[in-house]
């Protein structure tokens, strides 16, 4: 590794002793000796295994649930349905006042995606839980489903989630998050060229090697220790407290060791139901996703569609940018209203454009609920924006890197959402990239600076 100290040399004290030096990781000795304790490495005598009965339909009304045969199955200790959950309808972002509560811990009256949790079976062995789960009878009335965001937004589309009342998240700004800056139509009218393109992506599964799960042990005194691989410890504790209607001081969460997360372990899915199982049985409970559940049930990155329309001058300046972004939340919100909002903040890209119009929608469909993953709301948008930048450069016959230098934001530039740019380093990154990739640009670009204007 090489540290280029010539960049921004006058902006810092040159006393870096740690950065740029290899330092041993504190967790590695545990990893290489097999001593690191992951949540599933906790084993308790008498531990029960939880298996979930899941919806085989994308969208259906539940007429009835019959658990009587499952309850009689040898080895079964408890069977849980929606009415066992103290506060069954929840949404994780309620902690930061983003509602409405729109998701059920266990399905109540309706399922909205294939794989939705309906009944939880707790048994002495995994096998007994699986066998009993197969004996749970759920009578479904299949409903029409919608899987495409644009179809979902059309009038007359099947309503995915009654807690919203329409197939999009209603922000305080209306049906979408909006950014308005300058006059985008005037910008297009005055542009030498206009290019509109649409980009779309499919859901992406994080596929961590360690599947989602938790082990819960009753401590006595109505207190429960939950060993979990959540990436969102306090979020999970607080939401579990709401769902279980238990004060937080009754819940002791132990985590910190995550066998791969990548954003896929931030949803509060396994802990509340496992704690409830431990509470109602008085026994330790293990709820661990199978590999198939991890791939099919856990939240993926959202599918997205991005429509970008740009007005560009032949000298390389982008004069107008209009972006419409769609985030497929699947059947429930989880983190997606936030992801779509992040997109609105991000979409002009790291470029200074005088006229910007952005709309981003969080759309509900009967697909697996999506959630966080490495820069969600941004990563797919960046892919779209940078492909669009290459296309624009080609359109006006300009080198794609020089085209980006012309439009790069610099300190003091006003961003579309009216936050002045501070601490920009894009110019310097591109200068270094130009050298490293042996992709030369004109000398005037190599002389530019992010914070010394006029250069």
């Amino acid at each position: 590794m090489e540290l280029r100290k010539n960049y921004f040399a006058d902006m810092r004290k040159d006393d870096l002793h740690e950065i740029g030096q290899p330092r041993p990781r504190s967790d590695s000795p545990g990893h290489v000796t097999g001593k690191t304790a992951f949540f599933a490495d906790r084993n308790f005598p008498g531990m029960l295994h939880l298996k979930m009965v899941r919806s085989p339909h994308h969208h259906a009304r539940i007429r009835s649930i019959d658990t009587s045969e499952a309850e009689k199955h040898p080895g079964v200790v408890k069977v849980l349905t929606a009415r066992d959950v103290p506060h069954n309808v929840y949404t994780i972002l309620i902690l930061i006042q983003i509602g409405p509560e729109d998701e059920t811990v266990l399905a109540d009256g309706k399922v909205r995606w294939k794989g939705e949790a309906v009944v939880a079976v707790l048994a002495e062995t995994e096998r007994a839980a699986q066998e009993a789960a197969a004996k749970v009878k759920v009578d479904y009335e299949v409903l029409p489903a919608v899987f495409d965001m644009e179809e979902a937004l059309k009038p007359g589309a099947p309503l995915v989630n009654e807690y919203h009342g329409q197939n999009y998240y209603l922000y305080d700004s209306g049906e979408c998050r909006k950014v308005r800056f300058g006059d985008v139509e005037a910008g297009f009218a005055g542009a030498d060229c206009v290019l509109e393109q649409s980009y779309q992506s499919s859901p992406i599964e994080h596929a961590p090697t360690e599947t989602t799960g938790c082990v819960v042990a009753p401590e006595g005194n109505d207190r429960f220790t939950c060993y979990t691989n959540t990436q969102a410890m306090f979020f999970t504790l607080d939401n579990a407290s709401i769902i279980l209607q238990m004060p937080g001081n009754k819940l002791h969460f132990v985590g910190g060791t995550v066998g791969g997360g990548f954003g896929g372990k931030v949803d509060v899915i396994v802990e509340p139901i496992a704690i409830l199982g431990a509470k109602l049985t008085g026994r330790p409970v293990s709820f661990i996703y199978s590999r198939e559940e991890e791939m099919q049930i856990s939240s993926p990155r959202a599918a997205e569609k991005v429509v970008i329309k740009d007005g560009v001058m032949k000298d390389g300046r982008i004069v107008a940018r209009k972006v419409t972004g769609y985030t497929d939340a699947g059947a429930y919100s989880r983190h997606s209203p936030y992801g779509a909002q992040k997109g609105a903040g991000h979409y002009p890209g790291p470029y200074t454009i005088p006229n910007v119009w952005i709309d981003t929608y969080c759309v509900y469909t009967n697909r697996t609920p999506s959630s966080a993953m490495r820069g969600f709301g941004v990563t797919i948008g960046d892919f779209a924006l940078e492909v669009q930048m290459d296309k624009l450069a080609r359109l006006i016959g300009m080198d794609p890197l020089e085209f980006r230098f012309i439009n790069a934001y610099r300190d003091g530039d006003m961003k579309a959402h009216r936050q002045p740019t501070e601490g920009a380093a894009l110019i310097e990154c591109m200068q270094e990239a130009s050298r490293a990739a042996n992709w030369p640009v004109a000398e005037k670009y190599m002389a530019m600076s992010s914070y010394a204007k006029g250069a």
Partner: protein
């Protein structure tokens, strides 16, 4: 019912035990234990036999007989089976190859079962206590097969006559997009005198590409010579769709990979 394993010294006794409901033969475990782990509760009794004949490889006078319990790793390192090493190494990673057996591979649903594709091209026979069956017939009827496979037999191919290719998206290896095995004999003038081509992932189990085989007869293995075979490669196939590839994709790339194999 909990899972339980029963072990028998002879295949005969194990076959009797397999008549009970809910039983399944346990070879290397890579199919049946996997299914049980994933929640398949249809099997409660695993039956195995420790008969040493099941683990033997016999090579006599150009004929080979491989016991059904022989692992992919054992085939890959056997000095007389060098022509098959590539196909044996195509299965799984090193740990899987130490466990997965020849017998089990005959039952592996697509996209698995790459070695069975090789056996199909070799024109192998499959033995049980009831006798020998041509592999093509065996594969077609495998869903109802209850008798324990004891061995597979075939003539060891001459170097150069047997070709094998597995296509996967992950390097050095992953699950098959498709696999192709070909047994090709050429006359003195270089024209193909006999051809047997087997395809993996182009149906739910290995199948022959009979139209392509026919189109190769009397032709040379060059661009022009193989063109009719490539055009006919997809005839009679019904490729699987799975997370690795769609049926459409598999059908599109089959001629590309068949060309590479035939010209290699």
């Amino acid at each position: 019912m909990a899972l339980a394993l029963q072990t028998f010294a002879t295949v005969k006794d194990a076959n009797v035990a397999l008549k009970a409901q809910g039983t399944c033969y346990f070879g290397g475990g890579t199919l049946v234990v996997r299914a049980a782990n994933e929640g398949d509760i249809s099997v409660s009794g695993l039956i195995r036999s420790t008969d040493p004949a099941l683990s033997a490889i016999e090579v006599t006078g150009g004929k080979v007989r491989i016991g059904a319990s022989v692992t992919m790793a054992a085939i890959a390192r056997h000095p007389d089976l060098g022509t098959l090493a590539r196909a044996a190494r195509a299965v799984g990673g090193p740990a899987i190859r130490n466990m997965a057996t020849v017998g089990g591979n005959l039952f592996a649903p697509a996209p698995y079962g790459d070695f069975a594709v090789a056996l199909l091209a070799l024109g192998a026979t499959v033995s049980t206590d009831d006798g020998e069956t041509p592999i093509e017939t065996f594969l077609a009827n495998r869903d109802g097969s209850r008798a324990i496979v004891t061995s597979v037999g075939f003539t060891v191919p001459k170097a150069g006559d047997f070709r094998f290719l597995k296509v996967s998206r992950v390097k050095p290896k992953g699950i098959s997009v498709l696999s192709i095995a070909a047994m090709l004999e050429q006359a003195g003038d270089g024209t193909v005198s006999s051809a047997r081509i087997a395809l993996g992932c182009m149906a739910d189990r290995p199948i022959r590409a009979k139209a392509a085989e026919k189109a190769l007869l009397g032709r040379r293995l060059d661009q022009d010579g193989i063109a009719p075979a490539l055009a006919a490669a997809g005839e009679g196939t019904s490729p699987i769709t799975d997370p690795i590839a769609s049926a459409w994709y598999r059908a599109e790339v089959l001629p590309v990979h068949l060309r590479r194999l035939l010209l290699s």
